[in-house]
């Protein structure tokens, strides 16, 4: 399984709403990591907030096949049809959209169409979209149980794209702290998931 190239298309939308999208990867397991910035179609931006792989047919669950085999890979080699019977689904939180040349860090007026292609954003796109960290507020307000991990992962995934990762990291962390003025434990949870020691 080759790793996903930046700016490459990896899946398409199979469920669409204004704030949450579900996308299916073209290739089993071939999805960007948690927190990656993705572009849906030409204009909508989101981050991967969940990844889920399972059977295509809900009525035919996956069964264990490796009892008499030595390695996991052998299972896939012996059963090439598996890649067609299973699929990898990504959940995407919408965090903004592009209108002409302007990037907005709030929800788009309409959701993307089903079958819109999903792309992993290039470093350029990441820098362009994340010139401001206001998008974090959409994530911070989510009721999702694991959202703090998603937030930390989003910041971490974006870091290598910046010329001054330290500035971005500090800016994002301070923004979070300013949005949660009375919740020291949550600020602390998110900060613990960030590579602060590496950069500060």
């Amino acid at each position: 399984m080759e790793s996903l190239q930046k700016n490459s298309r990896f899946g398409e939308v199979i469920e669409s709403s204004i704030e949450i999208l579900k996308g299916q990867c073209h290739t089993l397991y071939n999805c960007p990591p948690l927190g990656s910035l993705v572009r849906i179609g030409d204009s909508v931006f989101g981050v991967i907030n969940g990844i889920n792989t399972g059977s295509i047919d809900p009525s035919r669950g996956v069964i264990a096949r490796g009892q008499n085999l030595d390695t996991e890979d052998q299972i896939y080699e012996d059963h090439p049809q598996l890649e067609q019977l299973m699929r990898t689904i990504v959940n995407i939180s919408v965090i903004g959209f592009r209108e002409g040349t302007i990037v907005h860090q709030y929800l788009p007026p309409l959701p993307p169409r089903i079958h819109s292609f999903i792309h992993l954003c290039s470093s350029n796109e990441i820098r362009e979209f994340m010139t401001s960290v206001d998008f974090l507020v959409l994530l911070l307000r989510s009721n999702d149980r694991v959202i703090d991990d998603v937030i930390a992962a989003t910041i971490k995934q974006a870091l290598p794209s910046f010329e001054d990762p330290r500035a971005f990291l500090l800016n994002a962390a301070r923004y979070i702290s300013s949005q949660l003025p009375t919740d020291v434990s949550r600020v602390s949870t998110i900060i613990k998931r960030l590579p602060m020691d590496e950069w500060l």
Partner: protein
């Protein structure tokens, strides 16, 4: 109005406050708190006007009390992230003045800047806008806190309109400050000085605590200053020239002069009453009443007591006390010529400034009290007559007179303030063109009513809480000034506020050195380029 302050001088944003408590400014960077000092001069750019104020308090704050318990010293990155956002620093600023488009000069502030106005450390231009530039009325006396290049100037013309005071415990630079003020008054010719120089430090050179010597007024201004000394022999031993060897005749002493010595000479109220009776009794006699009284034999004293219907014991006690006056070697039976007060007065009216040196008598409180009061009473009387006559259109107003007294709490304590001439002068302000410059280390000993009449107060470090309370008597925003006052450095730093200062300001007094000497003696009021003169 000045343009916006410089970005790098930005302190933070206004987040709240009130007229009574001051404006609260959240510092833009929490690290700033360690460099920001109480007493710093700041400006706030409101929407329509610019405010000038002083930092009177600093505080550390958090958005959530849980921060104090949930952050430990090893959460370094968390601390870095939340500092300035969830944990922040607040400076309280007392706005004193503002400029808006209606007024071109700073006016006393009666309003507050709106929320999120930006506060700046004041620039040199701001200081000049408030305190003016050095000119024929303004003298540069020092720099605001941490602004070595900015000049705080004092409007001397306003300064001499009221009685003023320099307070501070000993060794804080009071006499250097006083010298600067006196030299300024002299150079700018805004008033004439009469200085009762207890410790011989204003006329001629004296050395500072750090060992370097400081020029006296006589050295700086030559013939414009006349030195009178009560101790000619000591002056000669010290190799100093003086203009007049002052002697005081017993004939010049009046019962009022004895009255103020009551406490220090331990004379009872009855004794003082007897003085009036004695003076009246001997008024037609050729020799002075005190000498007459002191020379009486016991029998004569008894007779006199009967004649005057006084108690013999009272008179005997009084005589014992008064005999101390004979020990002063500046006392003579009869003053030669016109008497010392008239002589000093003539110098003053001739626009010559007078320093009266006490020599060895400086340590004797009785000598100082007696002489200062005696001379001042007569001079004040003359000035009163001259002013009244000028008001009637008969002659010109005399030039204002500033009388400098040290150890003022001895003249102006609540017991004496009503009796001494100094109490009268302090209370009547400049009505008769005579004001006081009080130099003192125990302001709490001065009568409250007098304190509240003092126009401009220059306060160096004071340790005693009662003294601090006393100097703030009647000052607006006293609570905030107290914070500043209790944190003054021990030398060359003072808080100045009151009549001649547009707003309270902490000043690092300028050095009393060669630069000052040339500023004060050359024409141009300090604005002359010395390089042009000396190359």
């Amino acid at each position: 109005m000045n343009s916006m302050g410089h970005e790098s001088n930005q302190l933070g944003l206004v987040i709240g406050g009130s007229i009574s408590q001051g404006v609260e400014v959240r510092l833009k960077d929490s690290k700033l708190i360690e460099e920001t000092k109480i007493g710093t001069f700041v400006t706030i750019n409101g929407a329509h006007s610019k405010f000038f104020g002083t930092i009177t308090d600093l505080r550390l704050d958090t958005t959530d009390n849980k921060f104090s318990s949930s952050v430990s010293s090893d959460s370094r990155s968390l601390i870095e992230v939340i500092s300035g956002i969830s944990t922040y620093s607040v400076a309280t600023i007392m706005p004193s003045l503002n400029i808006d488009s209606a007024f071109l000069t700073p006016q006393p502030s009666k309003s507050l800047p709106q929320h999120f106005s930006v506060a700046f450390r004041a620039s040199n231009e701001d200081v000049a806008e408030v305190f003016g530039n050095e000119d024929e009325r303004h003298i540069w006396i020092g720099s605001p806190l941490d602004m070595e290049d900015a000049h705080v100037c004092l409007n001397l013309e306003e300064f001499v309109k009221r009685s003023n005071a320099v307070f501070g415990k000993s060794g804080t630079g009071k006499s250097f400050l006083t010298r600067i003020l006196l030299a300024g008054i002299l150079q700018r010719q805004v008033a004439t000085n009469l200085i009762f120089d207890m410790h011989n430090e204003y006329g001629w050179e004296s050395s500072s605590e750090t060992g370097y010597s400081a020029k006296g007024l006589k050295q700086l201004f030559g013939s414009r200053v006349s030195i009178f000394t009560l101790d000619g022999s000591s002056a000669s031993t010290r190799g100093l020239k003086y203009d007049v060897d002052a002697k005081i005749g017993f004939n010049e002493i009046e019962p009022e002069d004895i009255a103020i010595l009551g406490t220090t000479l331990n004379i009872t109220e009855l004794g003082i009453q007897s003085c009036y009776a004695l003076a009246d009794y001997f008024k037609n006699d050729s020799s002075p009443w005190i000498l007459k009284f002191l020379d009486l034999t016991s029998e004569e004293l008894h007779e006199l007591a009967e004649t005057l219907r006084e108690n013999t014991n009272t008179l005997e006690a009084l005589r014992r006390r008064l005999s101390q006056l004979k020990r002063f070697d500046f006392m003579v039976e009869k003053s030669s010529g016109k008497g010392i007060a008239t002589e000093i007065l003539e110098h003053l009216l001739d626009n010559r400034h007078v320093v009266l040196e006490f020599g060895k008598h400086g340590d004797n409180v009785n000598a100082y009290l007696l002489v200062a009061n005696l001379i001042t009473r007569r001079i004040h009387e003359e000035y009163r007559k001259k002013t009244e006559s000028a008001m009637a259109g008969n002659e010109e107003l005399p030039s204002p007179l500033v009388i400098t007294i040290e150890e003022a709490h001895r003249f102006l304590n609540s017991g004496l303030a009503n009796q001494t001439i100094f109490g009268t002068i302090a209370r009547e302000m400049r009505k008769y063109r005579v004001t006081l410059l009080i130099v003192d280390q125990r302001p709490s000993g001065i009568d409250e009513e007098i304190l509240s009449q003092i126009g401009t107060r220059v306060v160096c470090q004071l340790d005693n809480d009662r003294d601090i309370d006393a100097v703030l008597t009647g000052a607006p925003g006293a609570r905030n000034l107290r914070n500043i006052l209790s944190r003054l450095e021990s030398i060359q730093q003072s808080l100045m506020f009151g009549h001649a200062m547009p707003m309270p300001v902490v000043v690092r007094t300028r050095n009393y050195d060669n630069d000052f000497y040339s500023d004060i003696t050359l024409p141009g009021f300090g604005n002359i380029n010395k390089k042009d003169l000396f190359g």
